[in-house]
Subunit: 346 residues, 2 copies
């Protein structure tokens, strides 16, 4: 899922997302709650109408951003109290409030509020956070179902989030507790935050082994292009990451031969496309030399073209993963992906 | 002509320019000479190939930017010596050099180097600058024709630039001197730089009265949308201006009812398109509320959508002007344009 923090995937229009074949994007509850405000978006007909996006929208709970505020937030059983990074105003985010905001936003998939902790975490911290996460999930689920019952059909799919840091038994316990709440899908949170890639995969596998096969499984906030197939191999169906869009704005382009740091002077007169194997509209039309020039000149067009290419690269990698699965070749494809990135750029 | 300073119209891809129906754009010799360098662009096959633009390209001479450097430049009969705004390096721009750079860039229309002076200018300053401009035009024309003769067919159309500040007799003298050099087209420079609009029109009319009807006439660096028809009424065929693109990035949108400063809180829940009468892809899809939000959040997408709309508005105004001419209604249309902008935004 491309990340559209403030109801826009940075540097891409919705037409561009459609051309790229993006079927689902993620939007951030924290950002939209603060600006322009969820009540405004509700009045304007919800996020789909507000941003004119017919595809699917997943909203996070706002928790991850709030917990990243560090000095600006305070956690209690009730919820998390925080100050806006925009104007310092004080807010209280509870499991019920996070669910309510997402109902107002009208996303298709809503995430429950979870407690995000720093890793590596001592076991007692992880246990406390897990207990709170499970309790919050129960409250969020109750609030959601009460609203859903009141209004007829469920307006959204609500996903639970498995926590438990890097403790396999806590991960399993978290999954079991969430399963009792019968969510429409399940996410794995709090991973890929600095621990080794192998450990991320191991923890993911512990969780996916317990999750029902007929519900989506979502690994949050990943990943590097060469890791995507590994996560799918652990049973993951959905991922989100700012990497393709953020790296693009910092002139880092993904290719079938590895990363191209396009500002490098070696590309100044390089008439090849960003990626000779890529079929995106940028690679069909523009040269590395032109991209390099646009970045050197600080042009907005640089961000537009680079983002378009990188998002295409990620979505195309996922298409290749699906194809590999259909041919029973996922494991081979995962090795191939890793090899490209060890070898480095052309 | 949309302005594509550094071989890109800011925030628009070439695909977007094609969708907008832009048939010609302007690129800046000064900027491209300094970065990425005209010799690099020559090696890469010229500007058309470099930026992948099949439409027409007009390049200015670089003079206007160099003269704007003020403290960083020194003028003599030979040419103008200046320091780069990028790295302070010293350069000499002569009429021959300006022609040569544009040959390297491979634009379709090249402008001669002229002396740009501040206005209002005392008559003796205007006379001296005019004399130098005419001499430079002669040298530029000779250099160009010599190169053209050497290589067969003319590789470009070269345009002369009429100067003379706000002195009608100097304007006429400048035009007559340029006509002797038999340029492919003629520009009117040094106007719309602070003098009243009526005076701009008056000076333009003095010049166009002398110019051949079968050669393009180009008024440089204009204008406000409500002024475009007035300039055409004075016999002008071509104009360039950074206004539609620059204003867009500063959240100023042009509409059939006047300017909309989209950051204004009055648009926060405005579900109308930017301009109800506009047929551009932005007005067909997005609301004022969404545009306002994107600007408030500082999103790149704001610049993309706003620029798209404003460039469409300018090109559409020119289409309406051509239509008005074909119906003998140019004067009425010019009045209508002015009225809209006096009335102000909806």
């Amino acid at each position: 899922m491309p990340v559209g923090t403030a109801a826009t995937v940075k540097a891409l229009t919705q037409e561009a997302l459609e051309e790229l074949g993006a079927s689902i994007i993620l939007a951030n509850t924290y950002h939209l709650y603060l600006r322009p405000g969820h009540e405004l978006i509700r009045r304007l007909g919800g996020l789909h109408s507000f941003m004119s996006w017919r595809g699917t929208i997943l909203t996070d709970s706002g928790g991850y951003q709030v917990f990243s505020l560090a000095d600006l937030r305070k956690i209690a059983d009730e919820g998390v109290r925080f100050r806006s990074h925009l104007d310092g105003s004080e807010h209280l985010l509870t499991p019920e409030k996070a669910a309510e905001i997402q109902l107002a936003l009208g996303s298709d998939i809503a995430m429950v509020l979870d407690e995000c902790i720093e890793t590596p975490a001592p076991r007692n911290i992880a246990e406390t956070a897990l207990k709170r996460t499970s309790e919050w999930a129960r409250r969020a689920r109750n609030h959601f179902l009460e609203r859903a019952t009141r209004n007829g059909n469920p307006p959204q799919w609500q996903f639970g989030i498995v926590q438990g840091a890097t403790y396999a038994d806590l991960r399993r316990e978290s999954a079991r507790q969430l399963l009792e709440l019968d969510f429409a899908g399940y996410a794995v949170g709090g991973l890929a935050v600095g621990e080794p890639h192998e450990l991320t995969c191991e923890m993911t596998a512990e969780v996916t082994a317990l999750l029902p096969k007929d519900r989506p499984r979502y690994l949050m906030g990943v990943g590097q292009p060469e890791q995507l197939a590994d996560y799918v191999a652990q049973g993951i169906d959905m991922m989100d990451c700012v990497l393709p869009t953020r790296a693009a704005r910092h002139a880092c382009l993904y290719t079938h031969e590895g990363r191209v740091l396009i500002k490098n002077s070696r590309y100044a007169s390089d008439q090849r496309p960003i990626d000779a194997q890529c079929t995106c509209s940028v690679c069909r039309r523009y040269t590395r030399a032109y991209l390099r020039h646009l970045f050197a000149a600080g042009e907005i067009t640089a961000a537009i073209l680079a983002t378009h290419h990188n998002v295409h690269f990620y979505l195309d990698t996922m298409r290749q993963i699906r194809e590999a699965i259909s041919f029973g070749q996922l494991s081979n494809f995962a090795s191939e992906l890793r090899a490209r990135y060890v070898a480095g750029p052309a």
